[in-house]
Symmetry: C2
Subunit: 327 residues, 2 copies
């Protein structure tokens, strides 16, 4: 079954069927004739033929920093839902936090006729990122970081960790912090800045030895907690930049004979699925990852269909989930 046969069965011209398939003008009467034939025959227009006709691929490229991540999977779920509803398929490119690979995929997707738009779940921006982003001739939405001059959807990392730290400081007086590298503005710099500001606002001074930088892993959280415990044995709270880091810190605290939360309060960020089933359950920040994916995809669909080229910035709200790892 092809476009010629549809035309024949419907008693209209091939050009009319083509206009019908590509959302061009077709009279109501002919529209019904064609629609009936298509429903009866189960005809599905080939995507490749459609691309040749319209110059659109109906594909969106999504660049992600890693695949085994609660937050990334929630964002991708939201993205996929909206794009699917709008007839787009999604190709994911996993960079494993390699900045160079990220730029390579930006360039790959930007090649003519690969995809109609890009969502970049971003971590850091190098000079090469700026260059690649500025030279794109298809719409892009950045998710998870704010970047001047580009449409983006991001979490309110600063206020979330500020509020969380303030609540911890009601009962703790010697807090420590385990963060991630500050080249990641959202998870690294903003969360750390929020911790420091919250401590300052309460008149609490924190020794540099009680502030460590981890990678995003459980093991690294363990090692950083150990460093802090060795340097500041009376530490009574560990604010962690991610849930995984907090899980590692909790394992370390247990091995040092510290009770959670009686001796040391622990908090994470992300509300991962295990944060509520760990013992004790983890006090953490809930970000609306799924909804932020939905919003980023809506922003991209708008830009791909009738884009005015105006960059938009959307900052998402958050919630603090107080559980049993804090008092």
């Amino acid at each position: 079954m092809d476009i010629n046969e549809i035309a024949k069965l419907a008693g209209v011209s091939r050009a009319t069927v083509s206009r019908y398939l590509n959302d061009g003008y077709v009279s109501k009467e002919k529209r019904e004739l064609i629609s009936r034939v298509i429903n009866e025959t189960g005809y599905v227009p080939s995507q490749q033929a459609r691309t040749l006709r319209t110059g659109k691929t109906k594909l969106v490229g999504v660049i992600i920093p890693k695949i085994n991540s609660h937050s990334v999977s929630r964002m991708v779920a939201g993205i996929t839902k909206v794009l699917g509803q709008n007839g787009y398929q999604v190709l994911l490119a996993n960079t494993d936090n390699d900045e160079k690979v990220e730029v390579d995929y930006l360039n790959l997707f930007a090649e003519r006729n690969k995809v109609d738009g890009i969502i970049l779940i971003a971590t850091v921006f190098t000079h090469a990122h700026h260059k690649a982003l500025d030279s794109l001739n298809i719409p892009v939405v950045i998710l998870g970081q704010r970047l001047d001059g580009h449409s983006c959807v991001y979490q309110d990392d600063y206020h979330a960790v500020y509020d969380l730290t303030r609540s911890i400081l009601k009962t703790s007086h010697t807090p420590g912090y385990i963060g991630v590298y500050e080249k990641d503005v959202a998870a690294g710099r903003e969360r750390h800045r929020a911790f420091v500001d919250a401590c300052t606002s309460k008149g609490v001074a924190v020794s540099p030895k009680a502030q460590q930088s981890a990678t995003f892993s459980v093991d690294s959280g363990y090692l950083c907690a150990e460093k802090i415990l060795d340097a500041v044995p009376d530490v009574d709270a560990l604010v962690c930049a991610t849930d995984d880091i907090a899980f590692g810190a909790m394992t370390c605290l247990r091995e040092y004979g510290k009770r959670i939360p009686e001796d040391v309060q622990v908090t994470g960020v992300g509300d991962s699925k295990l944060s509520k089933i760990m013992t004790p359950s983890l006090t953490t920040v809930h970000f609306y990852y799924l909804t932020s994916g939905v919003e980023a995809a809506k922003m991209l669909v708008d830009a791909m269909t009738d884009g005015d080229g105006v960059p938009r910035e959307l900052r998402m709200g958050y919630e603090i989930y107080a559980r049993t790892s804090s008092r």
Copy 2:
């Protein structure tokens, strides 16, 4: 900098540079001239131009059932490593366990000039899968399931769960099983069959009410454990088809006041990163996911470069990790 300028600087013809870039024959002398110019100028041939010249995209499509999964991320890490070393970029398509979407992506990747080969991390095979797989004109390797007539790399699910169940039955006499749906031959049918066979081999009869089918989630593991505890209150072991299901079962057992492993032993499959940091730590099966990804990618690279079209089947070994959730 383009191919004409390279030719000019090296003092050779444009055709010679083109042969050089596409691994055709070039004399040693000219090869050195061109190589020097390329090194000095930092010229990188455009992938698009290369595709036009060679008919190869240097892209591989990898279809995955979900992105927030320990096993999938390990397999993808192995795949990406080998393909990267061989100059391929990887596009991931996430199906969220939707069989229809899986077939859609098989067809998308199979379109002319999209990718040079496909790795399908498979869960179930419908009639539509068979049809799509049989009509592919590019190499495909199936990872995680065995399928007649196709190259595949898969885990030894049967013997792993058989051994694990036998070891549990040394001290338990009323075991239960929480599996996943049997349309998934590897994780569903084979693991369940192994449990049943191991019980039979020890002369242990297991009531159907002590065998429940979950989805792949923690919450579903919780609900199935509850059903088993209500129907068979003296159950003294829960063999679970995945680590996530086991985590849910453990949470449920704790709420029912059961001690793990004294009252009920619990086991999982997968050796996820949290299995060793849970309290108690989880006895589980370690599959060589990363290595199986490496092997699948090697198989695909061979098929893409000098494929003889002969299907190969590779079954991977396993290890049982006995931890504190069993006796």
